[in-house]
Symmetry: C2
Subunit: 332 residues, 2 copies
């Protein structure tokens, strides 16, 4: 028998453990084109929170009540009924939140481990968060030489990748994170200045002090007051990549209050929402670029690990309590 | 002696007549490269309101206290000390809010009237508002065939130009205006559906009813609740041209509250602030395109006229009370 976490009620505001239930599931027998995978690593991500709402206008269908959740995962093939896949192969797929899964081979990607790089990097800097950081920074926000980049949620999976990719490109990086230990950690990643948004004082004053010449790019993982501070300090023709707004996801029916939105007109700012799946067709470009940086030791994979399938909801809830440095993962 | 309106105090919130004073001014004698112009038409525009604030971060220097205001104007050359300009010539320039002005010839544009087109069109559909509508719609928002366009402030100078340009291109146009008579007028301009934002009910419900398949482009002249409704109804990859936010200009220190900002991520919306002066180098392209449409009778110049220099502040204040249909002008 396999086991999978089910969504048993939709959260109102902040999710809690009662929204989830671990249940046994029966795995059907393997059909043509399928593989049976034993999961080794599960990914939990902020985007999963809005999927728990019943929002028909999202880019991705809502999770269904009473059914298993899904999400990124890495596993080992136990049994294969698909050409190109053999027992022992490492694969990445989207049947997470469970210990074992039947996966369509077309929806699984073979992983070729890179020497000295932990395989779980394929769920982080070499996976979705890295791809999101790469295209958000260089494609959506068009970050270029001499730009000053502000990134919020810089201790998160995407934010820490943005810091590293921007510094590897020689940009000036102002980062924001919550709490002293995270700020120290983000500084170690290479950020030129780090704002502790949990410390006394408001974010705008801190950002103005850290970026006296303004910012050219804002990579938004947070929304709310961070976004407002970025609007207030943006230089002419600044570009904002709107990647996520974790500060808003649990705010059921709450409003984002922006004092400086008119600055978007005055300073001719472009704010562009994006999601990583719009860029999957350029995955090879990303993997080659980031793979080279990793091999050269210029950037690295960082993660916070919870142990065991039972801890998956705790790991997920931990995202909203800021418990992770880098990618939040569950090791089975 | 000439006369000019001076800004004598900075408005807090909504401006009133006490912020302005009409004073005599002495015109210096004409120097090399200058022309003396008798103004015939003055333009008053929403963008002048934020210029009255002491905001050093705007794209345009704030008006100075105790000095004459300036703005778009059309006039007749009385005297010329500049090659290419002769008495009797019609010119467009930026020394408005006064009856007579010494103008640098380099900052004046000769106007060649088009048959059957009133000259004041050069302050409206053939001037700044038309240029703003044209580039905002087709360049910033990249409006294209089969798009559904939502435009707020559709009875204003820019909004009414957007409605006409979008319809001339065959797009579906949902427009918003305040009050029955304006809505009737905007419908006459060609809009497929018009929302009366002053009528009972909220803007979002009205927009959802008018655009059941969502919107692809939003041309924002208003901000606030209109912007939020546009976010809530935007289709994937929708483009928003942020042209102005008249609902916010008088809201001293007030916040824009957006409930649907996270939709910018979910639907991958691009919001781009712009100002018309970024496009002056492409003025010829605009004038040729719009001139042809006017000559073909496909679009027309529309304005609301106040009479006499003394009425300039009233005309300006009228912008914020919604007193204009089309371009707000003062005829001297």
């Amino acid at each position: 028998m396999a086991h999978a976490w089910h969504l048993v009620s939709r959260p109102t505001g902040k999710p809690d453990l009662a929204n989830f239930e671990l249940r046994q599931i029966a795995l059907p027998s393997l059909e043509e084109g399928q593989i049976r995978v034993k999961n080794l690593w599960l990914s939990v991500d902020p985007y999963m929170r809005p999927r728990m709402d019943d929002n028909p206008r999202s880019y991705i269908p809502p999770f269904k009540l009473g059914e298993p959740l899904d999400g990124g995962a890495l596993g080992e093939v136990l049994e294969s009924n698909a050409p190109g896949f053999a027992p022992g192969d490492l694969v990445k797929h989207m049947m997470g939140w469970r210990d074992e899964a039947i996966v369509l081979s077309a929806q699984a990607t073979l992983i070729q481990p890179i020497k000295d790089v932990p395989i779980e990097a394929y769920l982080g800097i070499l996976g979705g968060p890295g791809l999101t950081a790469y295209f958000g920074l260089f494609d959506v926000a068009m970050a270029k030489s001499r730009d000053t980049v502000f990134v919020s949620g810089a201790a998160g999976a995407v934010g820490s990748a943005v810091v590293q990719l921007a510094k590897a490109k020689g940009l000036v990086v102002i980062a924001s994170a919550g709490g002293t230990s995270k700020c120290v950690w983000v500084r170690e990643l290479g950020a030129d200045a780090v704002i502790d948004y949990k410390a006394d004082g408001n974010i705008l004053d801190k950002l103005r002090a850290a970026a006296p010449n303004g910012i050219d790019v804002y990579f938004d993982n947070v929304g709310g007051e961070h976004l407002d501070a970025a609007l207030a300090t943006a230089n002419t023709h600044a570009r904002f990549a709107l990647c996520g707004m974790i500060s808003q996801y649990n705010a059921d029916g709450a409003f984002t209050s922006l004092r400086y939105l008119t600055q978007a007109v005055m300073s001719r700012i472009t704010l562009q929402g994006f999601i990583s799946s719009d860029y999957v067709n350029r995955k090879n470009e990303f993997e080659a670029y980031v793979g080279d940086l990793i091999a050269a030791g210029k950037i690295s994979s960082r993660s916070t690990v919870f142990e065991g399938l039972g801890s998956a909801p705790d790991a997920f809830l931990g995202l909203f309590n800021g418990e992770n440095q880098g990618k939040m993962l569950v090791r089975l």
